[in-house]
């Protein structure tokens, strides 16, 4: 009974690789890459790497980080993941000001527009909120407890976003649903009022982002999914405005004719808060697809595909700051079998990520070479773990990411033995008072 349990345990670990994530400070002051349990910060203004200060228990995160995010004003940074810890950082001094325990592994984080609340979602479908009252630049916040705010019944929440005006909180899940809830004045009492459901995706929803729309202060919601589409929504009514079949487009660009539909999930979306350009990272696409949102026509169309040459680079995460015209991308996974080096990631940058004028892309977005990117070699050394990365590492990473996408969001099937074993370690039993 023990043998099969251990073997399956190994497989379980192998499959649970965590993709590298990237987050860009809203004023383009810092770039953060997380890979596995490692959080790497680079100071762009000072041109140096940043050392994180965390006075709480031991090493920063003990397990894979699954979500990172800067607050809208750039004062706060949140990191959370499989170690069930949510860490809130002062984004200037890079001191950890609070560490909160979550009951389950965390899958998504968001910070309210006014910077007063941090929300995080777990793998059981519950969204929690933390009050940041009494946030003092230099102090460590006293033990904070999070309160459950809303829930998607038994569904992994994949993404959390606030609408541009901060009135709504949007949660997307593995069961194709997007829920738009009113974010109340006192969120700790619960976000009970559901504004709408955005239903239309036919596969898990993987990412959310907002584009600016002049007559709609809340913005238009853009969502990416395992069904290979990017969809545009009006969140007040929940109506689907447009669907963009990015998967089929990516398929045409593959050199081999094999239609690998299954692997065209949208991995990540990125928008500039004041613009209407959407960058999409798609599985099996070695590049970035740029979509343009036509606000008056309420439509979404493919503007351009920027290919990434030189190695199988499929971005696992995207980031941008509205003030600068750079789109930052990273690829990498936490553990690569057979490679004993510490986790390696590859960072690439596209410049010219800006739209001026209705439908055209004025400055051609171009991929920057390593010596052209902001921060240069020092940044690459810090965030990647090494200045130059061998291409074969990234072939392995691309394969691992493919695997991870499939498995992360598809319900695990356990054998009867393994199920019994897992029942022994359940953590939702009554806590003795």
């Amino acid at each position: 009974m023990e043998e099969p349990a251990i073997e399956e345990g190994d497989n379980h670990r192998d499959v649970e690789v965590a993709p590298a994530l990237i987050s860009v400070h809203p004023d383009h002051k810092f770039i953060v890459v997380s890979i596995g349990s490692d959080l790497r910060v680079f100071d762009l203004q000072g041109g140096s790497s940043v050392t994180l200060v965390d006075d709480s228990s031991g090493p920063l995160h003990k397990d894979s980080i699954r979500a990172i995010r800067f607050g809208a004003e750039g004062k706060l940074f949140v990191s959370a993941g499989d170690d069930k810890l949510v860490k809130i950082w002062n984004a200037n001094s890079w001191h950890c000001i609070s560490t909160v325990c979550s009951e389950k592994r965390v899958s998504a984080v968001a910070i309210s527009k006014d910077g007063l609340f941090v929300c995080f979602a777990d793998k059981f479908g519950v969204v929690w909120a933390l009050n940041l009252d009494g946030f003092d630049e230099n102090q460590v916040l006293v033990d904070k407890k999070a309160a459950p705010v809303l829930a998607h019944y038994c569904s992994i929440i994949t993404s959390l976003e606030f609408s541009l005006d901060g009135r709504f909180i949007i949660s997307a899940d593995r069961d194709f649903k997007i829920r738009v809830s009113v974010f109340p004045k006192k969120p700790l009492d619960g976000a009970h009022e559901i504004q709408s459901f955005c239903l239309g995706h036919t596969e898990f929803v993987s990412c959310l982002a907002f584009v600016c729309a002049p007559d709609y202060p809340e913005g238009f919601l853009v969502s990416g999914s395992g069904d290979s589409t990017v969809r545009l929504w009006d969140i007040t009514s929940g109506s689907l405005l447009d669907t963009c079949e990015v998967g089929s487009q990516a398929g045409f660009l593959e050199s081999n004719g094999r239609e690998e539909e299954h692997y065209s999930a949208v991995i990540d979306l990125c928008t500039t808060p004041d613009g209407t350009l959407v960058a999409a990272a798609i599985q099996s696409l070695q590049g970035i697809m740029l979509l343009n949102c036509n606000v008056s026509a309420k439509s979404l169309s493919i503007a351009k595909v920027v290919s990434i040459t030189g190695g199988s680079f499929i971005p696992t995460s995207l980031g941008t700051a509205s003030c600068a015209e750079f789109l930052w991308m990273v690829t990498g996974v936490s553990t690569l079998n057979g490679l004993d080096s510490h986790s390696l990631a590859r960072v690439r940058v596209i410049s010219g990520f800006k739209i001026s004028g209705a439908d055209s892309v004025e400055h051609e977005p171009t991929m920057l070479e390593d010596d052209e990117i902001p921060g240069g070699e020092k940044l690459l050394e810090k965030l990647q773990g090494s200045v130059s990365i061998e291409n074969k590492v990234f072939s392995a990473a691309a394969e691992a990411v493919k695997m991870a996408m499939c498995n992360l969001l598809i319900k695990k099937q356990y054998s009867a033995d393994k199920r019994e074993f897992r029942k022994r370690t359940r953590n939702d039993k009554k806590i003795k008072q």
């Binding site: 019944y153 559901i194 359940r426 939702d428 039993k429």
Partner: protein, 251 residues
């Protein structure tokens, strides 16, 4: 071997025979069963559920929508009673157990044949209401929701499987129009307290007054119309009701 004995439909009453549709009272709402789920409420095919009233070419638009939902309808007792009490209203039962859903389907079909023109407004669907209610009903679509004798899930660690909970009430409030009513009843006192507490504590529900309860013809059906309710009455058991109205949240 009696032919009558082995046939699933009784030759005399033409109604389906329960013993061929028996299923355990439990079903795990956490497991992903494999049944089709409509992508959105506009994808619900009314022509399948109410063939006499909708043809397959009917577009959604302004046509009538389902207004009553019996969540966990079991063998369909309540729906059958409601169907004739509210002949102009469309209603649907939601049940997670496969065999039981089949039974209700057969029962409705048989009743439609035996009573031409009647029972055309009632149907049943196999689904997990705890996950997919927003897929079936649009915002404020329903005027009544029923939760009769739900699974109590006694153990504390299973309380999260209860069909009435603060989080799920958000979704039920979403599909119920303002003024819509949620009816709950159980013979388990602890569950009765639980449901009442959840409803009382939820900002979008307020208790119905005694006077309104007296006046509502549906309330009497809660304990008398279902198989479960009749069993409780037979055993001289007590029932615990909580009937609440959906209100606009206070600002």
């Amino acid at each position: 071997m009696l032919e009558e004995g082995n046939s699933k439909i009784s030759k005399s009453t033409h109604l389906p025979r329960k013993r061929f549709y028996r299923a355990r009272a439990h079903s795990n709402p956490l497991s992903d069963s494999h049944f089709p789920v409509p992508i959105s409420p506009s994808h619900v095919d009314y022509s399948v559920h109410f063939p006499q009233l909708f043809s397959s070419s009917d577009e959604g638009g302004d046509s009538k929508k389902i207004e009553f939902a019996d969540v966990g309808c079991g063998f369909g007792g309540l729906l059958i009673s409601l169907s004739t009490l509210f002949p102009e209203t469309l209603m649907i039962g939601m049940e997670i157990r496969d065999k039981v859903t089949e039974y209700v389907k057969e029962r409705i079909l048989a009743l439609r044949v035996a009573n031409p023109g009647q029972y055309q407004n009632v149907s049943v669907v196999r689904t997990n209401s705890m996950k997919y209610i927003p897929n079936y009903f649009g915002k404020g679509q329903l005027s009544k929701m029923f939760f009769l004798f739900p699974d109590p899930h006694f153990k504390e660690k299973n309380h999260r499987r209860r069909v009435i909970s603060t989080h799920l009430l958000d979704e039920y409030a979403y599909v119920l129009g303002i003024g819509g009513i949620i009816y709950t009843i159980t013979d388990v006192e602890e569950l009765g307290d639980w449901m009442k507490d959840c409803l009382e504590g939820h900002p979008m529900f307020e208790a119905i007054t005694e006077a309104e309860l007296e006046a509502d013809p549906v309330v009497k059906l809660l304990s008398s119309a279902t198989e479960e309710g009749q069993k409780v009455a037979r055993n001289g058991g007590q029932t615990f009701q909580a009937v609440y109205r959906r209100i606009a949240p206070s600002l």
